[in-house]
């Protein structure tokens, strides 16, 4: 029983990692680098959108991602402990 709980915990953690790291990759390497020319066609206030992602947006998203992970893992940890 213990083992099943542990495995479920780890699987869930891996799922969070895959989702959050995909977003991490998309905003920086995707929007900021690979797709930058396409996004630069779009004007975002005084910025070209691709340029904004490369120099501002990606950094904001990074911060948010870590805090989302903190929230998710604290919940998961609590759940893991209480179901033991």
């Amino acid at each position: 029983m213990n083992k099943i709980k542990s495995e479920a915990y780890w699987k869930k953690n891996l799922k969070y990692l895959v989702i959050l790291l995909s977003i991490w990759f998309s905003v920086s390497f995707g929007f900021g680098i690979l797709l930058v020319d396409e996004l630069n066609q779009i004007q975002f206030f005084g910025f070209k959108l691709g340029f904004w992602f490369a120099q501002q947006g990606s950094i904001y998203v990074f911060v948010i991602l870590i805090f989302v992970y903190i929230y998710l893992m604290n919940k998961l940890d609590k759940n893991y402990r209480s179901r033991k």
């Binding site: 542990s6 915990y9 780890w10 953690n13 990692l17 959050l20 790291l21 991490w24 920086s28 390497f29 900021g32 680098i33 690979l34 930058v36 020319d37 630069n40 975002f44 206030f45 005084g46 910025f47 070209k48 340029f51 904004w52 490369a54 120099q55 501002q56 990606s58 950094i59 904001y60 990074f62 911060v63 991602l65 870590i66 805090f67 992970y69 903190i70 893992m73 604290n74 940890d77 893991y80 402990r81 033991k84």
Partner: protein, 558 residues
């Protein structure tokens, strides 16, 4: 109050503060010396990490580099922040759960091998030494520029201060001085930025002013793009590096960040696993304040500079122009003898050479801010350099005293003896760093990039596989680390120092610059590690149990 006096006053006050903190937080055990007794609050640890991470280069040079590179400068912005996501998600919590003092300790234990431990110590020492030499130099430069002492005396003063609080307080002293240093440096960075943002866009938040319009109603970035085209530079918002190279450099910096021992070790200092995650979040938030402001400063300063000097009469230049000319950071060479400054992208007609550091250092003067702001900037630059130097120093001393002496050479050493060894190695490290600060090897600038490449090519795969791939064994990890590092060293020395026949930009493999090659070496490390582990015996049962244990939260509240 004169400028000189206010600088001495503010720098003196901050130094007194650091020393006061060091005396208050003396370390009395190895646990306190290496990891601050594992009792640091996550927000305080976040601030300390941010100060540890942001070096003299981040504070003084980065905005200037970006202002010259435009879009291409994004590699530093994304590269030096994105690594924290990897740290928080893939490394920090598990290493904290593992619960030892250093990165080589994790590698040595997880791969049940003193060979792996020694390889890791070797990597940690190279990475940290290349870094610290640059920091000591930075301290000297700031002193000489603002306090009118020569660079060498500046290095000595810096060495004395760092030595005092690092040796006395160890990680505990360093942590709390770094908290103070973060406050000083971020305040010093933001005050001029806010003033200049208001001046240029009437928006007090630089991150927003960056995307606003100036008094003429034209968006700042559009205006700058226009000026660039007019003067023969490439457009500010689009780069000139190849997309592939930008991709690889960004990846190498991110992964290098996540593999730097002086950053990782900060996560050993908190009480719980959940606190390790929290500190990574706070650290990135504190870093992001500076990193999102720097590109705004870059644009303000560049626009301001072009407006002030381009096509203007040399005799009409404001006083700061002459002052910075004297320091050699600004050079005007009137090629066509018309006494008018031609600033142009074409080297043949360009008459103005601008050092990148001037964008931050001269900004308050260009924007005509009061003296105390300039003094603050000097204190901030010193805080940035000292905090990073101290963090690196600790990694060097703990690698030697704990991983080499205690774990390999003399395992029966007493706690007191180990603490003494730690302090002694810190002393030697400071002296060596000071020596490099006074006689900087030509390759200091080049080796900072090397440090990231090395960290990416060596530590990152070994740690990540150690946590996420149970079957990874010592044979795989050691061969991966050794091959990754050697490949990186080979490529850097070949294309940076001309060893092994050298080579020009056109000879780069797949068009990837040495700065971006860490990513390639890291991929090779992963492939080698995994392949070798398939053909050698799996790790023993107790290691599998260790990994299982690292992956799970503690039974109670940690």
């Amino acid at each position: 109050m004169s400028l000189q006096l206010s600088i001495w006053l503010i720098v003196g006050l901050t130094f007194a503060l650091y020393i006061g903190i060091a005396i208050w937080s003396r370390a009395s055990s190895t646990n306190e010396f290496y990891v601050a007794g594992k009792g640091v609050h996550p927000v305080a640890n976040g601030m300390a990490t941010a100060a540890d991470w942001m070096s003299a280069a981040s504070f003084i040079s980065m905005a200037g580099i970006i202002s010259f590179l435009g879009y291409d400068g994004s590699v530093y912005l994304m590269g030096w922040t994105g690594g924290y996501v990897l740290l928080a998600l893939l490394l920090a919590p598990y290493l904290r759960k593992f619960g030892k003092f250093t990165v080589p300790a994790f590698i040595g234990d997880r791969y049940y091998s003193n060979t792996a431990r020694t390889v890791a110590v070797f990597c940690a020492l190279i990475v940290s030494f290349t870094y610290i030499a640059g920091q000591m130099r930075g301290v000297g430069v700031v002193f000489s520029r603002y306090l009118e002492v020569d660079i060498n005396s500046g290095v000595f003063i810096g060495m004395g201060i760092v030595l005092f609080y690092a040796i006395l307080g160890g990680m505990k002293g360093i942590t709390y001085t770094q908290v103070a240093q973060y406050c000083v440096l971020i305040f010093a960075f933001m005050v001029p930025a806010i003033f200049i943002s208001i001046e240029m866009t009437s928006n007090p938040i630089p991150q927003l002013g960056f995307g606003s319009a100036g008094s003429d109603g034209v968006y700042l970035l559009d205006k700058l793009n226009g000026l660039h085209e007019e003067l023969g530079f490439s457009k500010y918002t689009s780069g000139s590096k190849s997309t592939l190279d930008v991709f690889f450099i960004t990846a190498a910096l991110m992964i290098g960040t996540a593999g730097l021992p002086h950053v990782i070790v900060r996560f050993f200092t908190v009480k719980k696993v959940s606190d390790a995650r929290k500190s990574a979040g706070w650290a990135l938030l504190f870093i992001a304040i500076l990193y999102t402001t720097a590109p705004a400063i870059a644009v303000f300063a560049r626009t301001n500079l072009i407006d002030t000097v381009s096509e203007k009469n040399y005799t009409d230049m404001p006083s700061w122009f002459k002052k910075w000319e004297d320091t050699g950071l600004l050079k005007f060479d009137d090629k066509n003898g018309d006494n008018i400054i031609q600033y142009n992208g074409n080297e043949m007609i360009n008459e103005l050479t601008i050092d990148r550091d001037i964008m931050v250092l001269a900004n308050p003067e260009i924007a005509q801010l009061p003296n105390w702001v300039i003094a603050l900037l000097a204190a901030g630059a010193l805080a940035a350099a000292l905090s990073t130097a101290a963090g690196l120093l600790l990694v060097i001393s703990s690698s030697v005293s704990h991983d080499l002496i205690k774990r390999i050479i003399k395992p029966d050493i007493s706690e007191k003896g180990e603490l003494f060894a730690a302090r002694l190695s810190a002393l030697f490290a400071v002296l060596l760093a000071g020596y490099f600060g006074i006689n900087p090897p030509d390759f200091v600038a080049a080796t900072v990039a090397l440090a990231f490449g090395l960290a990416a090519a060596s530590f990152f795969p070994a740690i990540v596989l150690g946590i996420f791939y149970k079957k990874m064994n010592k044979e795989g990890a050691i061969s991966g680390m050794v091959i990754g590092i050697l490949l990186m060293l080979f490529y850097m020395t070949k294309f940076k120092f001309g060893w092994f026949g050298g080579g020009a930009e056109s000879d780069w493999w797949f068009g990837i610059s040495p700065e971006g090659f860490g990513t390639v070496a890291m991929i090779v490390n992963f492939i080698v590690s995994i392949s070798v582990s398939k053909f050698t015996s799996p790790p023993p049962k107790e290691i599998i149990e260790l990994v299982d244990n690292i992956r799970l939260p503690n039974e109670n509240d940690d």
